[in-house]
Symmetry: D2
Subunit: 384 residues, 4 copies
């Protein structure tokens, strides 16, 4: 069984997804085999060499045409955030399976429209919260489902980066609200909200604070790009948050603290989450992504301690496809794991989690936090 893929967008995520489509069926020997049919990007000058390098069979520039192509089974959306909704809805209307990068949408309203579209079209729909596919994170979920944490009291999550502290770092698309929707919030809090929901469940109420530390930045030479160089002289206004912190209450009675920032000097991709229950605790930190920290209160008292589970054993999620124990995997492997899941789900007609509906719940939290920051007050998380 072949799955013909059209990928929309060829930036950072385009690279990660291209690699994934090339590796997933090899490592996981999936029944469904991806065929890299179309790379669609309106920047043709960049797309052509990218497609050649990564083996996309043809290049297109109009996503509306691409999503309707008869030879396409799955649309993989790797565009900036402002295009997710329109591309996804068009793809749904064309009856295609969809994998969409996170955050699902610019806001909850868009997200709900996307959910409606995929429900109506009854198409496979998946959102690329790749950190769920880190073996250690999947193991964390497994331990919680095995009851090893018991009643949960606390979530403590932060996603810390430091790449825009320099005031001369240019105003790239991720700092432009009309393209990105928000700053660190949609980029980073989206991930830790998704992980918290994956591990602990839904949040009901939040209070947040959004901060812009550097209010103006040089305009980039190129209009779009993660690392576009600054142009001389001209400055533009930063329209998104540099950092967003928030407190949360969970439906199950737990409470949480969350923080996303691009201003935490010394933290490169510091995506971390801790969960404390009455029977045990868990801690994950992406920069040590092969490890899960676990404290087990049911151990004999004199032996209790935080243990570092090196999640590289065959018994751990995803690992049997990879290498012997101790031979750690890296960032791009999480996308391979995700692609393998998508391929297996397509072959077996299963749902992907998070699907659009699940990701809309993350979007609801994201929206509520920004609303709270604006109102300077606690806000209920809208029910999805």
């Amino acid at each position: 069984m072949n799955v013909n893929v059209a990928m929309i967008g060829s930036g950072f995520m385009g690279k990660a997804h291209s690699n994934a489509w090339q590796r997933a069926h090899i490592y996981f020997n999936t029944e469904a085999k991806p065929v890299m049919k179309v790379l669609c990007d309106n920047n043709t000058a960049a797309a052509v060499p990218f497609a050649k390098l990564w083996g996309w069979q043809r290049v297109e520039s109009d996503y509306k045409k691409t999503v309707k192509s008869a030879d396409i089974d799955l649309v993989d959306i790797c565009t900036p955030n402002n295009l997710h909704a329109e591309v996804a809805i068009a793809a749904a209307e064309a009856g295609k399976a969809i994998l969409c990068e996170k955050p699902l949408a610019m806001n909850l309203k868009q997200a709900l429209a996307m959910v409606k579209a995929v429900k109506k079209a009854k198409v496979f729909n998946a959102v690329s919260f790749n950190y769920r596919r880190v073996p250690a994170v999947a193991l964390a979920r497994q331990l919680i489902q095995e009851g090893r944490l018991g009643r949960i009291f606390h979530v403590r999550a932060a996603y810390l980066q430091d790449w825009i502290i320099d005031p001369n770092f240019p105003l790239v698309w991720r700092l432009n609200k009309s393209v990105s929707g928000s700053g660190a919030h949609g980029d980073l809090n989206a991930h830790i909200i998704d992980m918290a929901r994956f591990l602990v469940g839904e949040m009901t109420e939040v209070v947040g604070d959004a901060k812009v530390f550097i209010k103006e930045r040089p305009l980039p030479q190129a209009a779009v790009g993660l690392s576009g160089k600054a142009s001389a002289g001209k400055k533009g206004k930063v329209t998104v948050d540099d950092a967003v912190t928030f407190l949360a209450r969970f439906a199950n009675g737990a409470i949480g603290t969350f923080e996303a920032t691009r201003f935490a000097q010394g933290h490169k991709n510091g995506n971390r989450i801790e969960v404390n229950g009455d029977k045990g605790s868990l801690y994950f930190h992406f920069e040590d992504m092969n490890e899960l920290q676990f404290f087990d209160n049911t151990d004999p008292k004199h032996l209790q301690g935080w243990r570092t589970i090196l999640a590289t054993e065959g018994v751990h999620p995803y690992i049997s496809a990879w290498w012997p124990a101790g031979h750690i995997i890296g960032y791009e492997n999480t996308f391979v794991n995700q692609a393998a899941d998508v391929l297996m789900e397509l072959a077996q007609k299963k749902k992907h989690m998070p699907d659009f509906e699940d990701a809309a719940k993350t979007q609801a939290v994201l929206d509520a936090v920004l609303d709270s920051a604006k109102k300077h007050a606690w806000v209920d998380v809208p029910k999805v």
Copy 2:
């Protein structure tokens, strides 16, 4: 020069302070020598053997008499929180120097009355925020004052413990609002608020959430005691928080997250604080109290990394009094460092920091957070 000390209270802190009065002048060879004159505790049955063990010359049971004794120079207040104000004010009125355990008071109103009393009496006054006397924390302050962090963006502080997760843990004084004022908040947040203020400066606004996870507990066999055993059958209502989280804004533009809890499974005395600036970052965790983590953005790019400064060198604060490099010190040494500072300050007629006024600012934050939790809204921190 002798300093005659009367210590009020003989619990956990009484042990730590007694040890400190016995060690400080030896390790630091201070000019002022403490004389352990009086142990005052209304529980004479406990106080007599305690005084014998630790070398207090006489035992008294009425603090009002003790603080007026002609042979007393300094009153060291180690009682439960509800007695801090009245003892301190009486001591001030008697013209005595005062060292008071933290939190300074049950609330800001009390704290301000205490400040007024010591100002009026012009007596030496000090609050036992012992974590400022951890060499690594004093070093953190030094690095910030040397300008090594630059403009500060973030504070991330948590004080995590797990000793009352068991629902059968009894209702000891620390869980009784009329004695303790609050729960994890005054006990633990007090410390990290003080450290944040010590390192970064004042907070202006906060929003907090207070949580009680276990609402009723067995009454203890003994009325007072950190680890009193549960009595059979009878339960009482828990009147203090089990955990308090809050967001803060600082006067200098930084933002912070704070959390105090006694329900973080696997954390024993997890007092930790991180500060991120544009030039560098710092991280301290009490369970590794001899270490300060430091990231220096001015290092050559390919050499940058979080460095673990083992703060046990002669050049580090307090260490020249102790042991050779790498021979780490422990919890009780922080009280010895504090006592040595007090003795040196008394001899040299210097102020202690934090004094009552400084600690009242911490109390103002504590109060504002509880007020915020009650109102479920952001609250301004009262100016002190």
Copy 3:
């Protein structure tokens, strides 16, 4: 420019090398493009599906024929150790470029014959000591060459695994001397000897101890395989070491300790090396392969500490081809880095390091250690 590759052997290393040939030109955009022409393995039943999965164009079973094929430019030797020499010499005689898995040979005599063959044939020759291609290890070398360690005193290396502690683990080829040459020694000490030589230089004298903890094991059901299942009943003699420790003296006056074992419970791929000089120290541990620990004695005294360099910045070796800072890479990426180096060297007619001659020096140390263990005495390392 195309490089037509024939890979001999399709086991664990065959998988790692196949992945590398598929990724190197994409991530590094190398001028030379590998073409995966031939997979040669005498176990055709395994080779055919392997070749299909990984995209080898044809399967052959006779390496003698393969190495002479007119359409082959490079022979990639991934066989068990006992075949390295004969395949490499045949490939050299056929004028092919060669990449050979480590250890280079069964013993120094074989290694020297291989060196002679490639010198005579003047063919490109490379040995797959992939750990040199870990960015953190390449950075370690760079720091030493920048003079940041100064005069070197100590090397402390260990390669710890635990996968054959179970006495019922079968007698796979790696435990059979006639196939593997040695046990943990050639498999693991080979790597840390190579790293020590890469970082510090040549050893002149060694004294070693070789140990077999489990002397008999069940015969495997399949004759060859890392994880072949044990057959019922029959046992065979373990003919290789389970662990080898040794002391070494270096030509530059440094001294070292080395240890390789498959009996260190809890260690999965614990390849670690530390180097201490008068100006600084370095430490690398593969299970945290993205990190290099560095202590710099030239830092201001109060700031000195071991720093964890997360070697994922664009300024670090190999990383600009991969992901943004903090997005860590994994085990298989080291082989991709290596393949990229090979491709660039072939295009630019440069030497690969380690070449056969360099790897023969590692073989000389390996031989000297086993000789020392046998003689129970210090032994000079033969000069190569």
Copy 4:
């Protein structure tokens, strides 16, 4: 019951022991109470203020007189190594209980004479290997005795310091063979040999390498002292090792690597030992002295990992005398624990371990290693 103590020597160890005699009975509420009767040191100028500071009742300068004093029960030997034997033998002949600093003697011959003397005199005898009294180390022993490691394969021990790397560091007594006996070897290897014996048992054969990196150093201004300042101009020959490495075989079939050095840049008091068995592994590092790392192979496979036991719980050795969980202890507390053991043993007429005979076995290993280094060959460890 009082125990009248005479301490001989007032250097670094004199400080640690004085503190211990002042704290042990308080924290442990021992039946036997130490009385600090005599400080004996031939350097009276230093001894008088030391005695005053630490509360020794009188100062003497002639140990021969002191050990015979009728009012002395226990002689605590804190002199440089060259005096251990003569003081201990004199004390034994005088019928006194003895606590002697490590290493027991300058060599095995001396050690055996000391054993003979205490056996003849039937006096209490103890050697101050204080690291056995680190709670985490005592816990390590307990876990091994509980069978949690099973059959032991490996010991990996190192004691790393860096305080004499500077060639201008002066020739203090510890670098003078006639006073110290050896360098890093007797000072540091003594500790890790003792710990290895404590945890794993006796060694039968060793091969070692001793190295002097800096062969001449400035003479110190003061004749004796750990940190005596260098005098201008004059240099003397270093007569002890800077570093000693060795391999060992244990009676139970395990093998080990050992290393002691004062030239490991970045290591301050890096006393570390790891033990690997078929059921589990343990690791201790003094700079994190409150922690014991433990890997338990009997855990469910997907939960296995190295756990950090924070050995500060009431159930851990010695801790119930100290502070609540997580309130870590420091270097000097190990001497307090030791003194408490000595006091309890004296009251209960029990043996101390290690006693002189046990410490002579450590001396036998020390001697064998130096002998091996000299002969450049494996050497049997003499049976004691």
